[in-house]
Symmetry: C2
Amino acid sequence: MEISQRIQKMGEPALLKYYSMVNTVQKKGKKVYFLNIGQPDIPTPVGFLECLNCFDEKVLAYQAPEGIRPLREAACGYYRRLGLDYTIEDLFVTNGGSEALLFTFIGICNPGDEILTAEPLYSIYKEMAAATNVTLVGFKTYAEDGFALPDSAVIEAAITEKTRAILMTNPGNPTGKVFTQQEITVLKELALKHDLYLISDEVYREFIYDDQVYLSPSQQPDLEQNFILIDSISKRYSACGARIGFIISKNKRLMKQLKKLCQMRLSVSTIDQIGAVSLFALEQNFFDEILAEYAHRREIVYQALQEIPGLICKEPKGAFYFMAKLPIRDASHFIEWMITDFDYLGETVLLSPANDFYLNPADGADEVRIAYVLKERDMLAAMEILKQGLSAYGLTFPESRK
Amino acid sequence: MEISQRIQKMGEPALLKYYSMVNTVQKKGKKVYFLNIGQPDIPTPVGFLECLNCFDEKVLAYQAPEGIRPLREAACGYYRRLGLDYTIEDLFVTNGGSEALLFTFIGICNPGDEILTAEPLYSIYKEMAAATNVTLVGFKTYAEDGFALPDSAVIEAAITEKTRAILMTNPGNPTGKVFTQQEITVLKELALKHDLYLISDEVYREFIYDDQVYLSPSQQPDLEQNFILIDSISKRYSACGARIGFIISKNKRLMKQLKKLCQMRLSVSTIDQIGAVSLFALEQNFFDEILAEYAHRREIVYQALQEIPGLICKEPKGAFYFMAKLPIRDASHFIEWMITDFDYLGETVLLSPANDFYLNPADGADEVRIAYVLKERDMLAAMEILKQGLSAYGLTFPESRK
């Protein structure tokens, strides 16, 4: 029997490759700090589980394919507080932001169609595209200038007759990039001019630092028909294990079609939907506290990273990741070596190799992504381990030094 | 902007078309018996919700993409009790049986590839195929002979160089068909001869009546590499709202690839997985009681259906649906009329039009599917309403009578 070409084209996240190695060394007593994934350590608001105790139906039944009404209403309330005017007809509940993306790819692209996006990119976009026979086309952005969008003409040059959408991640993962009004305008005008969708993945919306403000194509009324918003409660409410996301658009013709995909998989988890209702009732001070915590982590990690000889990085403006250029040639090898061969006082650290975040795996070979998802003490310990590890690695593999 | 051809090819389940009509009449006080969907009224075992109270983590985190180990182990224990030797490496947890099917379609088919299946079929297979650019090819089976498989030669004639798999539903939805050893052997030999996968969707495994026994290709060791089992807790444990399914195969090469699809959507609901562990611990007497209840419902519905003039049906051998041929030409119109124009003592009934269960929508125009998912009193009331409704419809639309 054959295995499909499309699934064979999908990549296996580096994450998984390392996990068996990590398990082995953990069993031998080595402590590992996981800075490789965006799994926050912030407690999930207790309302989520308390809500479940309110469930008093005898039968755990299918819910409406588009999501339960109380959750859709609660989400609309949240968007209203952000100044966004969405009604329940504009949004469907999905199995996490992942399913919202999958539905978008299936709903707007035929096999062979293209979606344009900035690199570095969230690695799972690549797998999503392969699974749905969509071709992702990238335009590069660079740490040196804060991952600013290139000139409109550069992006436009990548648009072909097969392009269906531009996909932006705001704030960016892994870049921490926060889009400016000018950049949003550039993408909006390209979308309108070339009759494309503009998809904005905003699952890190609340994680914006310094004097940056949240700006989104969802604030542009003239883009309404072209705009698709991807959202998720995972990061915002530290509820990654509740698979609750949203696909949102005011394009009624599109939503009518996307509803069929909701119907195809019948329902999203009843219990997760009920739990999620409570989360949207949380006030702004919930986010303020979390943002203060992440802003602090960002500061201390940035200070620590600057003390590592030869490591280059800029302070991210959003999300909770650093992209860092290491003073060595092969970050993947270094990450593996840190797990299998290195420890500092019995501890080590797991990072993400950044080549996962590029379409061409040769790109980003000397870069890593560092998720600052642990508390201060752990982050500081992890940074010291990274510093010691880079030093020891340089001595062990002098030919790998840059 | 364009909307993809593949999503436009998807159908909208008739179910949804009727729901807005149903809402309207319910608001006016009409009571509606829902016999249109397989949503059992059996209470979900209390262990599911009790289990949730055991959740004592502070963070509702992502779980392993392939599912939590306790759930995979519990599922293996359940299969062992059925005499099936699966280990946790052979199975991944999915967002319901729906996602298991979606992953199968993506994993074994490129766009344009074909999957062969018996008609009538579970209508969502059609939508799943459209969404993934797979072509479903049907061979007919008929109520008259209990939906028996046609001769091997008839099925074989439908195999082309694009065929990747034969998909069977055992027991069948909407047919209630339970596969015999001989039929399984026919499909197995075709799969082996033509190097195809055999996919068996067995979500109704416990709903087998009379002297029929559960038989499955999973009991055929020589088919191991070709076999994919689709499963779900939804019907078995009356837990449709917990989105927990399984994709199962001993083909390690295939599973290694399918794992990428699990990784692509990160995780299945943590809470639903924890709740589901408790369900697999239930003993056989749990199923015995439920089966006795459904067997009883089947009997009383069958008796009632036989008293309806001109209605033709056979007693199903499995699952919980009757396929019935009505004495009128247009079942869809009748179903709609029953909602909008008819009531019997203030009550009416919602059925599924059977044309949803055929690849050619002209097929099954005079047939309906009746789900016997309500308790005796309600089923009897619904059958009386159906009888009165058919009589009144025949008088109102004499030209529609056969």
